[in-house]
Amino acid sequence: MVVAALPYGRPFSCREQDERTEHLLEGVAMAHARVQAAAHDVAFMAGRIAGTLSRTWRKIVNEPSDTASPTIASDSGGVGRVIAPVAGSSEAGSDGWACERLQAIGRNADKQAFAELFAWYAPRIKAFVMRGGASPDTAQEVAQEAMISVWRRAATFDPTIARPATWIYSIARNRRIDMVRRDRRSDAAIEDLKPLQEEVGQADTAIVALESGDRVREAIEQLAPEQLEVIRKAFFEDKSHSQIAVELGLPLGTVKSRIRHALLRLRARMQEDGR
């Protein structure tokens, strides 16, 4: 559409108007997002304060902590160590069960333990990769390669840093990057990060990473539907946040603020102390 170049009073074309409206709406959405973020911050701080208070109370009345995470004791170095997998939690797929098997593989190259771990995780990795659009054959290949990496690297699994499912997830993700995206993400670089993890913030990392699967699952279930949608798309469909925005037909800013709120909520829930 041709519009005369008048110095003022130039009529907007419909498209321009649409763009302006969209811009305005985005601005409103962002402002709304900021208010929400502030509310979340307040809730988060309140949660932390409540957590600290309840910890202090437990110390005062000398009650044992009721968290479900493995027992952590301080050795002379001050670094938390898991003494043993949680006794009596040998149900297939549980953290204790997987820890025992990974340790059996790492120490004794136990093939029976590996076969059990394979029976549980390989079909799940295959399903996970298929949800990202890979063919069943490729997905199975990724699952097999990931499990071989699990076998080779089991000795490096450190239960003080991550849950077994988290560790296996990160290995499977890297195999998927190698094999499906034909990109590179070297495991070596990730390995090199480990010693550094023991610096400042180590306590936080350990607490969050060892959060029982149930706690994390609950946190995920409590997300708002539109927040859950972006998180699921990111993990299951192997899509970047900008691809998600295109797919949902949303402005990038909206998707970013959904992600930020989702992560704020997850973090707040995961760090809530025993409820």
Binding site: A122, A127, R152, Y169
Partner: protein
């Protein structure tokens, strides 16, 4: 103290595996220098772990397990001993080491700071290590797409805020001129998809789109 951590949406892309190699490298460098971001990554990976637990499994036939079991006794494929970078680069974050094979040299272009083009396997992004002398700058430019910068040493100011060691700057669609500040030489990793378009008067003449095209 990290003032500019990696944004949530970029960290999510990293945790899910959707972030391409070049930007992942900038994030990995940041993670090495920022304990808090590592803890945020751990949270996201924990979410990945729970989602992995939650999917309905897809059957793998017995042959699948057998194929894997027969491979377990094979020695691990001789993992190439990681070549150690030259002494000059050893102090750089370990995530960069695989990209700095022995013999890597700073390249001083006719215009702008010294650079090393990091040999990424994926060609979707260009990953550069830049060395900016105190007071030096990256010529004013506009990004068509996201640009990921992680400061490894020194500090710079891009007209909006100040960045120092470990800080990560992810920008798109804005004109900026990062200027190195302080006494120290500023070393950073810069990753971007499209060739930068120089927007200064002089810059337009030597638009690097021309010079960078052969690398993309």
């Amino acid at each position: 103290m990290i003032r500019h951590p990696v944004p949530d949406e970029v960290l999510l892309d990293y945790a899910s595996g959707a972030l391409p190699e070049g930007p992942s490298l900038a994030v990995a460098v940041h993670l090495e220098l920022c304990a808090e971001s590592r803890s945020r990554l751990a949270e996201l990976e924990a979410v990945g772990g729970v989602l992995l637990d939650s999917v309905a499994p897809e059957a793998i036939d017995a042959a699948g397990l057998d194929a894997v079991l027969t491979r377990l006794d094979e020695p691990a494929p001789a993992t190439l001993p990681m070549p150690r970078p030259d002494a000059e680069f050893v102090a750089l974050p370990a995530a960069l080491h695989p990209y700095l094979p022995p013999g890597t040299r700073w390249h001083k272009p006719f215009f702008g700071p010294s650079e090393i083009v990091l040999p990424t396997r994926s060609k979707s992004h260009l990953a550069l290590l830049l060395r900016i002398e105190p007071g030096g700058s990256i010529p004013q430019h506009v990004h068509e797409d996201l640009e990921y910068t992680t400061l490894i040493s020194g500090a710079f100011h891009d007209g909006f805020s100040e960045y120092s060691r470990g800080d990560m700057c992810v920008v798109s669609g804005i004109e900026h001129t990062p200027v190195a500040i302080g006494e120290e030489i500023c070393v950073c990793i810069v990753v971007y998809r499209n060739p930068i378009i120089l927007s200064g008067t002089f810059g337009r003449l030597i638009n690097p789109r021309r010079w960078f095209r052969h690398r993309l």
